[in-house]
């Protein structure tokens, strides 16, 4: 066998954003190993922010110097227009989430100490904190970058795990309500591992069908391999289960409210924005690059999933009394709206480009708004930590008008009210879907938007038109959270009033489509 293997080539420059993030994560681990405890936090904070900013600058530079038209790294990674756009989005959202993470008091003093034990007491008085959070976040972000850019199913599986494994741990690191946090970690882990086993078995079956895990080769095999349809269809279904789980589409949405509620809120912000963007990127790439030729088979299923996701998300959100669970169900519903855009893919080049650019814009708009909303959640606090119960938010508009106004803005953006970013996101996706002939789906989308708007407005009414409780929660806004709120408000308003530059950018990125 010797001498028959040509040495592979890797385009390091094209992969630079990922390499920078992973490199910094490894440096972060070294900091954890060798820096004295009192210095770690001071090193990690600037290192993490600089890394994400640096990776973003490199991404911009790459997008300006010319987008490659073939996959890189022996076909394992595709750095194409949509991938670069998604990278930029993830990096900015991660940067904003890290600003939130930087503020004190979100993470546990000692994860190994049993809650309520003397050991925990000691760790708290020593002022210990888990600075491992920063390398873990960087590893997760690195996985998020690779996930939507992976051009074969193996790279995609590895990316899925690199993204998920740190998040499982981060979920369990909340400082307050540690039982809930640990429970969220267990649930996320067991269900996540279960779903990734499905993804993997689907990969195995498609490998059996096509003889390769390369997305483009699977697409070629769709036309040429006969008599193996069972392998193909079961494989596609299992692959779909794995991907739809990460998005939180119904009927695989059960983990989302529990995990979003129990996790430390900055990590929830990172998951609700970055993970969702990455997972949608990967879903689009698989279903467009590898399974585009099978469109007639999977579109009806996707219709069903989209309808179910929107309806389940919107209706269950109404019954919630917990602000974080409500935002989680809202995130599920938004996943459904985005799936409408996935259904709209596939008729012709022009149609694909407009659906894809609509999706990209929606992801940016939703990402910023959701990070902002969770940032507001971190500021409203009781003695025992963040005040999650909706009744505690009553009268917030009278006590802290600014916070209430900002939160209302985010809720209106979720509802898709004009002059907010959410409106143009929904409008673009619905328009693309109508053009693709998916009008019934759009009708369901509009109806569930209306249902969703009901509970967003209900929260706004609660904040402004009920009387505050005497022992109401206090509002504490640390510096980083201020910045996050400001950025999110700015993004929500600017994208709602002047969406054109970002729409153009998304359109340019989508024009080249995913490379095959």
């Amino acid at each position: 066998m010797n001498g028959t293997i040509p040495a592979p080539t890797i385009e390091y420059a094209l992969l630079a954003p990922m390499l920078v993030v992973f490199g910094a994560a490894i440096i972060g681990v070294l900091v954890e190993a060798f820096a004295p405890r009192y210095l770690r936090s001071a090193i990690h904070k600037p290192l993490t922010l600089l890394t994400l900013a640096g990776a973003f600058v490199i991404t911009i530079w790459q997008a300006r110097t010319g987008i490659p038209t073939t996959p890189s790294a022996m076909g394992a990674v595709a750095v194409d227009g949509p991938a670069l756009f998604i990278w930029g989005t993830i990096l900015v959202l991660a940067f904003v989430s890290v600003l939130l993470i930087n503020d004190e008091g979100h993470f546990v003093a000692s994860a190994a100490a049993v809650p309520g034990s003397a050991e925990e007491e000691r760790a708290l008085t020593e002022g210990a904190t888990h600075t491992e959070v920063y390398p873990l976040v960087l590893f997760a972000v690195g996985g998020m970058l690779l996930f939507p850019a992976a051009n074969d199913l193996l790279a995609m599986f590895v990316a899925l795990e690199v993204m998920s494994l740190p998040l499982y741990l981060l979920c369990g690191l909340a400082r307050r309500r540690r039982l809930l946090s640990q429970e969220a970690a267990v649930k996320y882990f067991l269900l996540g591992a279960f779903s990734s086993a499905f993804f993997l078995y689907g990969t195995a079956l498609l490998y059996g069908y096509a003889g390769s895990v390369d997305l483009a080769k699977i697409n070629t095999a769709l036309g040429s391999v006969g008599g193996q349809d069972t392998l193909l269809y079961i494989g596609v279904a299992m692959l779909g289960v794995g991907l739809l789980f990460k998005i939180g589409a119904a009927p695989f949405q059960a983990w989302k409210p529990d995990v979003y509620q129990g996790s430390p809120t900055p990590i929830t912000a990172l998951m609700a924005s970055g993970t969702l963007v990455a997972a949608f990127g990967a879903l689009l790439r698989v279903f467009w690059v590898a399974l585009g030729g099978l469109e007639w088979s999977w579109t009806p299923i996707m219709w069903g999933v989209a309808i179910l996701t929107m309806v389940v998300g919107a209706i269950l959100a109404i019954t919630q009394t917990d602000i974080k669970r409500m935002l989680a169900y809202s995130s599920i519903a938004h996943g459904g709206f985005l799936l409408i855009g996935v259904v709209a893919l596939g008729n012709n080049q022009q149609q694909n480009a407009s659906a894809l650019s609509a999706l990209l814009f929606y992801l940016v708009a939703y990402g910023f708004t959701t990070v902002g909303a969770f940032a507001v959640v971190t500021t409203v606090r009781d003695a025992g930590g963040e005040a999650w119960h909706l009744s505690r938010w009553a009268g917030l508009g009278k006590r802290r008008p600014l916070v209430a106004v900002v939160f209302s803005l985010f809720l209106l953006a979720f509802a898709g009210i004009p002059l907010t970013s959410g409106f143009f996101g929904k409008y673009a996706v619905f328009q693309a879907a109508v053009a693709a002939g998916a009008t019934p789906l759009v009708v369901v989308g509009v109806v569930s938007s209306a249902i969703a708007a009901f509970f967003y407005v209900r929260v706004i009414v609660l904040m402004f038109f009920s009387d505050p409780a005497a022992d109401g929660p206090s509002v504490v806004i640390p510096g980083g959270t201020w910045a996050v709120g400001a950025v999110a408000v700015l993004a929500t308003v600017v994208l709602g009033v002047f969406p054109q530059p970002v729409l153009d950018l998304a359109h340019t990125a989508a024009q080249s489509l995913f490379v095959r």
Binding site: V114, L154, E183, L190, Y201, G208
Partner: protein, 98 residues
């Protein structure tokens, strides 16, 4: 003659999947997930033989590594929650609902 291996792999995957759904101990649930991953490995290696290329065998390596990393993280999480509650039953993990 690779069909038998595929049948075995499918059986293992189903046993693992059913185990995840019906077993109550988090450690056992987790072992069932690992069984599913190993079923995938068997399928990969079988298909590598059937397709006449080495990709499947290389993929099996990657899957093993990922499974090992997953084991470590999973056990860490499960042990933490066990120390808190003195129970590893997934039925007791019920604070977060509705």
């Amino acid at each position: 003659m690779t069909t038998h291996y595929l049948v075995l792999s499918a059986l293992l995957f189903v046993i693992g999947g059913v185990g995840v759904l019906v077993r109550r101990n988090a450690i056992v649930v987790f072992m069932c997930v690992e069984l599913m991953l190993n079923a995938c490995n068997l399928a990969f290696v079988t298909f590598a033989r059937q397709n006449g290329n080495l990709d499947g065998q290389v993929i099996a390596f990657f899957v093993m590594i990922v499974a090992a990393a997953e084991v470590v993280i999973g056990l860490a999480i499960i042990v933490t929650i066990f120390r808190t509650r003195r129970s590893a039953s997934v039925d007791d993990v019920n604070l977060l609902k509705y």
